[in-house]
Amino acid sequence: VRFAPHTEDDVREMLSDLGLASLDDLYAHVPPQVLIDHPLDVPDGVSEVELLEDLHSLSARNRHVDDLVCFAGGGAYDHYVPAVVWSMAGRSELQTSYTPYQPELSQGILQALFEYQSMICDLTELEVSNASLYDGPTALVEGVHMAMGATGRSRVLVAETVDPRYVESLRTYGRGAGYRPETFPARDGRATIPEVDDGVACVIVQHPNVFGNLESVGDIFGAAARRGTRAIQVFDPLSLGVLAPPGELGADIAVAEGQVLGNHLSYGGPYLGIMAAQMRDVRRMPGRIAGQTVDVDGETGYVLTLQAREQHIRREKATSNICTNQTLMAVAAAVYLAWLGPEGLRELGEASSSKAAYAAERLAGHGGVSLTFPDTPFFKEFALSFEREPPEAVQARLVERGFLVGPVVEGSLLVACTERRSREQIDALGAAMGEVLG
């Protein structure tokens, strides 16, 4: 395939206007020692149909979640993506534009981001939202950096029940930013109340947590508030039709993986890092923020605002290095949230949690399978323990029978339900589990 439109005549004419004899002359000032004189060891280009055949044969060697029934969770979920979401977010005027540096030609993206930010605030009952970060774990990292800046402290306390991927990310980035996340313990799959002293920048709780369990968020955040520590909640956006919002639970900063808001599973990305916070921290927020203003005629319009926080203005003093973000995923989230509406969001939360409760009852309590935390309430995901089998072996044998479950976390097998899973599919999973353990 070729996307450069030059005819041979064009090339000749343009070179001649430049007073050059050949394309090589464009590189004449490059030191000859670094010029390569051999073709790249990458196959020659192919036609579009050959390219699609190659990609199709690669994709055909994957077992996707229309083939396997998806009960997998661990931070990415098979919620339904309505047709309208990508028919709108995929509009090429939006998809092929870039960061709205020239706002007069970018009103579509800017208004969509303003509406996204507004809906994230509605959802979380926090005061401000930015226009997207990379994904859930990197949003948490940025939230921690905000908390450190706001408090001038550097200790970071993380509940043991926070997804290990989030904690691993904190460990990686903490080496640069100068902190080491410290975990505080859990009992029965729920975080306990940590000791917070005046050196603690933030306390991090995930609710629902990595096992799907509901945490006593208010109590933990109360302990943080008494010490002037920032309270950070990792939340599931689709739990907020039925669960109390982070703002009400005392969170100062709330971060989430926004994949569930109309974004495809896509083997882990592109996803959406959500961040909401209180107005007092807005100048410490990372990333783009869209704001409303007026033009010279007094008409309403939108711009990127508070740019003095950002790397292109502030350079090494910026709140973050983020530039390219996940804008289009935020646009998809805006379409999706408006598609759901308040009733849809509540129904979706009820459906997911009801199906998970049914699945837990169907799967646990017989054949050597039990709930890892039998007395702890959960939302749409729960943890199973096996008396005789390693959970990885159960997971592998269920794949052979057409079911995707997992991941395995601390010896427990996670099972998640979305509104898409039918009673029939849950019963079939129960039967398959019986067979593989048989």
Partner: protein, 520 residues
């Protein structure tokens, strides 16, 4: 206004409408507010916000009926009231977002010469492939045995990127260029720490993109800035004075941010390597040299690529991109875990057993959907095609620079590569600034170039046409720039008032920050 408004060729067709600008300025023609040549029948005041469109009880969503007993959420955890989301029907949603799209300008709308962003055409075949269920419907935590095709795709892409850059191994986790920078710097940090030789400073040129210094700080280093010389290149003498054994490394683009090839790159590399530092290649400008020059051959140790620039994955209004990082053999052990690997039986797997890895920099496997598009671009073009891409990108920039430099002198004398930086300084005496030129270009149907960047150039206009634009488009844009310069002398008000044909006129950014309204 000019013959430009009547030209066709492959000039943007779906861009803002082109009314008689002078008449509009005199108030005889109302500047349109829809920003597109469509008449919608909307009442005045559209587009409203989704909140204004909301009506209690209206909804778009439908969910499967509940086929299991309803579970109760414990009262203490329950949300008391419904969320204040808008209540709209699907038709409302479609018209709303269609209006928003029509008020936006993308590469599919027209020429988008935003310097340093490589706004090239995004092939549709890449989008088609990314939406195959076998890619789009994969859960990130599926067992490796069920995703052999996805892993092979990444493995093949890794091999091609290594060949293109002269490196030995790749991580696909970084979600964007800046994320790649930070990943590369953390690798540098781990490398020096592993040698028991922690160092404190990273050298960057004064023309560098803002993400470079910001990443340096996030990696726990201090910024040491090396000045550009009269050629717009790194001042080698100043660099030699600046470096010592406390320098962990140097970050640089080549071609640099002024669009010029760093001709002393081998001397720069030697200077840094001699004190035990590493060389980081910011791949922002890789489009200029594919198949011609490899970062590895210039002495670089770590390279990030921006797939949304070099490999034509759509920019998405600001993202998503992807920022894979490639490194030399001796740095491969430090790459984020897991990495894609192949066992002796030819099976692909995610290798998690990486004791010297810097750890995880992304929740899952990076922006896979973007990487599928990058694969389509790399293997669709092929090795021969990628070289042709680079050559035509450089040809286009040189041709356009040559056409406009009479009115907009180049900031530096050297031959531009894939982009050029010129200055609108000569127009200043007429009271016209670079921003005014940019806004006037909007009225002529183009997205403007980057303005006021790099910071080291006064009244900078940074123009990157990319290889996917035809000579006709470049000629039309050159004419528009030259016309703007003429107008600056004859009727500067045209530039001061611009734009008048966009969906909105100039916006009050100071008010946006002062009277902060960032949600409804």
């Amino acid at each position: 206004v000019s013959e430009l408004n009547r030209g066709d060729g492959d000039r943007p067709e779906a861009g803002p409408v082109q009314p008689d600008t002078e008449a509009a300025l005199e108030g005889t023609v109302q500047a349109p507010r829809t920003g597109a040549a469509v008449r919608t029948g909307d009442p005045a005041g559209f587009p409203k916000s989704l909140r204004e469109l909301s009506r209690p009880g209206r909804r778009a969503s439908s969910l499967p009926s509940l086929d299991v007993p309803k579970a109760e959420i414990p009262e203490a955890e329950r949300r008391a009231n419904d969320v204040g989301l808008p209540e709209v029907g699907e038709r409302d949603l479609v018209r709303h977002f269609t209006r928003l799209a029509q008020r936006n300008y993308g590469v599919d709308t027209g020429f988008y010469p935003l310097g340093s962003c490589s706004m090239k055409y995004n092939p549709k075949v890449a989008d088609a492939a990314a939406s195959f269920p076998g890619f789009q419907r994969l859960h990130p935590l599926q067992p490796d045995a069920t995703v052999q095709g996805a892993l092979e795709l990444l493995w093949r892409l890794e091999r091609a990127l290594c060949e293109l850059t002269g490196m030995a191994g790749v991580t696909f986790q970084p979600a964007a260029g800046a994320s790649g920078e930070l990943t590369g710097l953390l690798i540098m940090r781990a490398f020096h720490a592993g040698n028991g030789d922690p160092r404190r400073r990273i050298v960057i040129p004064d023309s560098a993109h803002g993400t470079n210094p910001a990443s340096v700080r996030m990696a726990g280093y201090e910024v040491a800035t090396v000045p550009s010389d009269a050629r717009g290149l790194v001042d080698l003498g100043a660099l030699e004075k600046l470096v010592d054994e406390d320098v962990a490394g140097l970050m640089i683009t080549n071609p640099n941010t002024l669009g010029l090839f760093e001709e002393d790159i081998l001397g720069i590399a030697r200077t840094i390597h001699e004190v035990g530092g590493l060389l980081y290649y910011d791949g922002a400008n890789l489009n200029a040299i594919m198949g011609r020059v490899r970062p590895g051959d210039m002495g670089f140790d770590i390279v990030h690529m921006n797939t949304h620039k070099t490999f034509a994955t759509p920019h998405g209004g600001g993202g998503p991109g992807a920022g894979p990082v490639a490194v030399r053999e001796r740095l491969v052990p430090f790459l984020p875990a897991p990495v894609v690997s192949r066992d002796p039986q030819g099976r692909f797997f995610l290798d998690r057993d990486r004791p010297r890895s810097i750890g995880r920099v992304h929740g899952f496997n990076g922006n896979f959907g973007v990487l599928v598009r990058a694969y389509a671009y790399v293997f669709g073009n092929g090795g021969d095609g990628l070289r042709a891409v680079a050559e035509r990108a450089v040809l286009n920039a040189n041709y356009l620079a040559h056409r406009v430099k009479g009115e907009y002198p180049l900031a530096f004398d050297g031959r531009p590569m894939h982009e050029f930086v010129s200055t609108a300084r000569p127009l200043k005496k007429h009271g016209v600034r670079a921003m005014d030129v940019a806004k006037r270009l909007i009225d002529m149907g183009f997205y403007p170039s980057t303005v006021y960047f790099p910071l080291v150039v006064e009244e900078a206009l940074m123009v990157e046409p990319t290889e996917t634009e035809s000579k006709e488009t470049l000629d039309a844009f050159a004419e528009a720039m030259l016309q703007s310069a003429r107008e600056a002398r004859e009727n500067p008000d045209l530039l001061h008032q611009a734009p008048v044909t966009a969906p909105v006129r100039r916006l009050d950014e100071a008010r946006a920050a002062r009277q902060l309204k960032i949600r409804w």
